[in-house]
């Protein structure tokens, strides 16, 4: 408790000095980066950080300060995901052998099949999870990375909200992988009907994991940096 008190008093002094020093641009929002303050993500106490020593003074957890390498990583994962997105959609994710003959299913043909068999609510669900979400993630992440690299100042709130959607919705693309897993495990009736996984499933799973890694490495504070350091 005493540490927390001390930190608060330290924090308030540093803020008052920084506001008086930066008088010329009064509209400039007060940020953690400008004042050297950050809230620990583990114990939620307010901490001072130095570039070479970024550990929480209360619980000793590493603080999440800006990491220049993370932006590059995010870009790299995104590029890899974009490349793999092509085989993920062209190669079959599932190979079915029934008495009516063999059949290859890609992501898209699986969705079409669901629509054709009359279960359109499910078709819609799988369409969203397997087609829309990966596309949305690829486009949104490139847009977010591009605009924050260009230090764009327009619509930061909307971009922040877009990133939040990408973060929460991303993992649901794994849906198709699990469907293939369950079908492969259950439908094994030799000559009657058998399901085998296809190469597309591997590519698709990799796309999901890579886009998740890209989103995890993206620092949403970059969206606001152009506004924070105005003029």
């Amino acid at each position: 408790m005493s540490i927390a008190n001390e930190l608060t008093s330290k924090a308030s002094t540093s803020i008052s000095t920084s506001t008086t020093m930066q008088r010329p641009s009064e509209n400039r929002p007060l940020t953690g980066d400008a004042t050297g303050l950050i809230t620990c993500q583990i114990c939620e106490s307010l901490c001072h950080f130095q570039v070479n020593d970024a550990h929480c003074q209360v619980c000793d957890a590493p603080l999440r300060i800006r990491n220049n390498a993370a932006f590059g990583k995010s870009v790299a994962y995104l590029i890899a995901a974009t490349i793999l997105y092509i085989p993920a959609n062209l190669l079959p994710v599932m190979h079915t052998e029934t008495i009516f003959g063999p059949e290859d299913d890609t992501i898209m043909s699986g969705v079409v099949l669901l629509f054709a068999s009359g279960s359109w609510p499910l078709g819609l669900l799988v369409f969203f999870a397997s087609v829309m979400v990966p596309l949305l993630k690829l486009f949104s992440m490139s847009f977010l990375l591009w605009t924050s690299w260009r230090r764009s100042k327009s619509h930061p709130l909307q971009r922040s909200q877009l990133f939040r959607i990408v973060e929460t919705v991303g993992r649901w693309s794994m849906l198709d992988i699990y469907v293939v897993t369950v079908l492969v495990a259950l439908v094994q009736f030799q000559s009657l009907a058998s399901v085998y996984p296809g190469e597309g499933a591997f590519a698709f799973a990799t796309v999901v994991v890579l886009t998740m890694l890209s989103a995890l490495n993206f620092d949403s504070r970059l969206i606001w940096d152009a506004i924070n350091t105005d003029e």
Binding site: L37, S160, Y178, Q188
Partner: protein, 207 residues
């Protein structure tokens, strides 16, 4: 409660004044609308009880069959681990490992660490603040995908319903239960609550 009156938004880096909240309220960043923290009425005992519930449900989910399929005279049933192993048998080693990692290893670690944190605060003799388990928990959260797997199960159920008779196993229902209970517990086991509980216990021990 802590005495800190300022919060730095973790999503846009704005320094915000901390406000005191009523139970059930959440504080959001005025600039980027990120949720900074929320307050709920949960106690340590409640959360611990839910943590044990998730452990039991997770155990059932992994030991009993998920579903079985009847086609003419043939019957095939699968458990969660068996489903992943079927991928290994079809030369899809990476996918097998990915499925095991996201549906078995990550949730198991998550539940284990949650119980460890809570039990440590409740019964631990040397109360010290350990940040490592909470850090692992935060890193693990996006990779634990039981709810996605559940939806995958439902989709495959519908896909198979015309082909054969399906019998849903106990693991299916415990999987459904696990999602609900762990979602409730996720809202209770916040860094703020854990910190508050360990401070309470610390002051209780010192008195």
């Amino acid at each position: 409660m802590s005495d800190v009156k300022l919060v730095v938004c973790h999503e846009c880096d704005l320094i915000c004044h901390e406000v005191s909240l009523h139970v059930g309220e959440a504080a959001c960043c005025p600039r980027c609308h990120a949720r900074l923290f929320h307050r709920n009425r949960s106690t340590l005992d409640q959360t611990l009880a839910l943590a044990f519930t998730t452990a039991i449900l997770f155990f059932i989910m992994n030991t009993f069959p998920l579903m079985s399929l009847h086609l003419q005279q043939n019957t095939r049933e699968t458990s969660l681990f068996g489903a992943a192993l079927a991928m290994w048998d079809r030369e899809m080693h990476v996918l097998c490992l990915l499925v095991i990692l996201t549906t078995i290893v990550a949730p198991a670690l998550q539940i284990g660490i949650e119980i460890y944190i809570l039990a440590y605060i409740k019964w631990g003799t040397r109360i010290q603040t350990t940040s490592l388990p909470m850090m692992i928990l935060q890193k693990l959260r996006p990779w634990s995908m039981v709810e996605v797997f559940m939806l995958g199960l439902l989709v495959s159920l519908v896909k198979l319903k015309d082909l054969a008779d399906i019998i849903v196993g106990p693991a299916f229902w415990s999987c459904a239960g696990l999602i609900v209970v762990s979602a409730i517990m996720g809202g209770m086991l916040t860094p703020r609550n854990v910190w508050m509980w360990s401070q309470e216990r610390k002051s209780h021990v010192n008195c």
